[in-house]
Symmetry: C2
Subunit: 306 residues, 2 copies
């Protein structure tokens, strides 16, 4: 098979993904396993890596990782670099783990207007992968458990902000009274009208702790069915995220009329619909952004091999 110039590892909380990448940046293969930081149990990082790589583990190519593998509870703690942070700075600040078994990309930190810190690990690499070094100033969102909004320019992450949208949605449906009358729906089109009403509510000027109670009262009083109530709640949270992030971008001098959505699958489609309802133009980012970002960082670090 074609020689790999890099084994790229996107190693998060739940999932670990490995990619074989050639010297031109082409992804030759991908492997994934539920070997994230919280899934290891008694398994050592070295053994987890062997399991994930399988027969790739004999390859001579360097291995570069991003994500929670670099956290305090990870294999080795990589620092948080203070924004703005460029591709070159990321390339110059790699952390070795396991006696050279892998090298880990640093995370980023910033402080918001009130001085409260914010952090990311892994998303910095996705941003680098989603946006070429020469890209003009771009507002990007990475939807997820902890959605990240970032402003990136010329391969430099200028600033970012985190929203606990996905995790809040799961906690509300799974562990509050809202889950008794509202259910999660997998698809994006389970109840488009309810989702749309939720987005409008989320984009409005209410308080979130009041607004979310509507997932119960709409079911009780207006007889919204459980799927509809779940879709409505999803719309409220995503809409509210967009409203808040747009204000944040405005404060940073960005007009926020256009946003790059990085990710894949159903969640991206949800965000595209919510952004459209907000009057924001959405571009879809490349797939496998983490693998592409790891390749760019490795190349900038002069670490492509063997």
């Amino acid at each position: 098979m074609t020689d790999a110039a890099l084994i790229a590892l996107d190693w998060g909380t739940t999932l670990a993904r490995a990619y074989r990448i050639d010297a031109a940046g082409r992804i030759l293969g991908e492997r994934a396993a539920e070997l994230g930081m919280q899934k290891l149990g008694e398994l050592s990082h070295a053994h987890a890596l062997d399991q994930l790589l399988g027969d790739w583990r004999v390859e001579a190519a360097p291995r570069l990782a991003c994500g929670m593998i670099g956290s305090r509870q990870g294999w080795a703690e990589a620092p948080y670099l203070r924004c703005p942070v460029s591709l070159d700075t990321l390339a110059q600040t790699l952390t070795n783990a396991g006696g050279g078994a892998i090298t880990i990309v640093a995370g980023l930190c910033t402080r918001d207007a009130a001085g409260v810190p914010d952090v990311m690990r892994g998303e910095e690499t996705q941003l680098i992968g989603a946006l070429p070094s020469h890209a003009p100033r771009t507002l990007a969102v990475l939807p997820g458990t902890h959605s990240k909004w970032a402003i990136v320019e010329d391969g430099t992450v200028l600033d970012f902000a985190t929203y606990m949208t996905g995790e809040l949605y799961e906690a509300l449906l799974g562990h509050t009274i809202l889950g008794r009358l509202a259910t999660r729906s997998g698809g994006t089109d389970a109840d488009p009208a309810a989702f749309q009403r939720g987005i409008e509510r989320g984009l409005g000027a209410g308080g979130l702790m009041h607004d979310i109670f509507g997932a119960r009262t709409l079911a009780l009083v207006d007889r919204l069915d459980p799927v509809g109530a779940g879709e409505w709640l999803s719309g409220v949270l995503i809409g509210r995220e967009i409203r808040t992030a747009r204000s944040w971008a405005h404060r940073a001098g960005h007009d926020a009329s256009r946003v790059l959505v990085v990710g894949d699958g159903a969640l991206v489609a949800r965000y595209e619909r919510a952004l459209a309802a907000s009057g924001i133009a959405a571009d879809r980012g490349v797939e496998q952004a983490a693998a592409r970002g790891l390749f760019r960082i490795a190349r900038a670090a002069g670490r492509l091999g063997p």
Copy 2:
């Protein structure tokens, strides 16, 4: 023993409380048991009532109940009356359950500025109990799992709004990543400085889904200890509730410079501190407001006995 004129029942989701009250409104005795709607299992409402009342069950006094016992999953469904609702309207709209075993007070409903419904069951009775019929227009808060803010005048609940503050706090600490670095503290003075910083954050203009992530990042980056992070988060949520509720009261034409806090124990003390930090004067409501409210409603209904 002195004859009871009323057996008052505050019958909620978790707890059921019974009070013996004489013809002058004096509370002669109180009993409580974990016999709320969600705790009954196979036990019938009639048997739960017998268990709660014990030897009081032979008394001839009428029994008036409020709370989730009147919900669709309760003993009998009592209606939601649309605000504004007066003491007299409540007294005229009682629902029988168990073949006359008890009578149940109606709940209230309203719609907020966006047309989304809101509901309460039990708190309407606490409001009636906390505020005499001739009281001038008053802004009141009932802190709790679902905090309720209400505007009451002359024994009439004009309007109200719900905030899922307490339940959100529990869900965030118990079922999200925040619980890994933040813990619940029982007392009010576990870390007053962190609580105060949280209140200030909550009173600020941020977005909640971003702000709450600070309970993690302050622990990670600024080394806030777990109790401090928990107190900070409590402050953020209570502060944000106050900010939102104050805007709501302003829109209703209330200056919100003064608020009556109805409830008891540590949570009321927390709200008093947060209100002080917001520049809002706080008055503490009477204890046992539900029992007092049930007495007033029974009297207005001509149902004191035997």
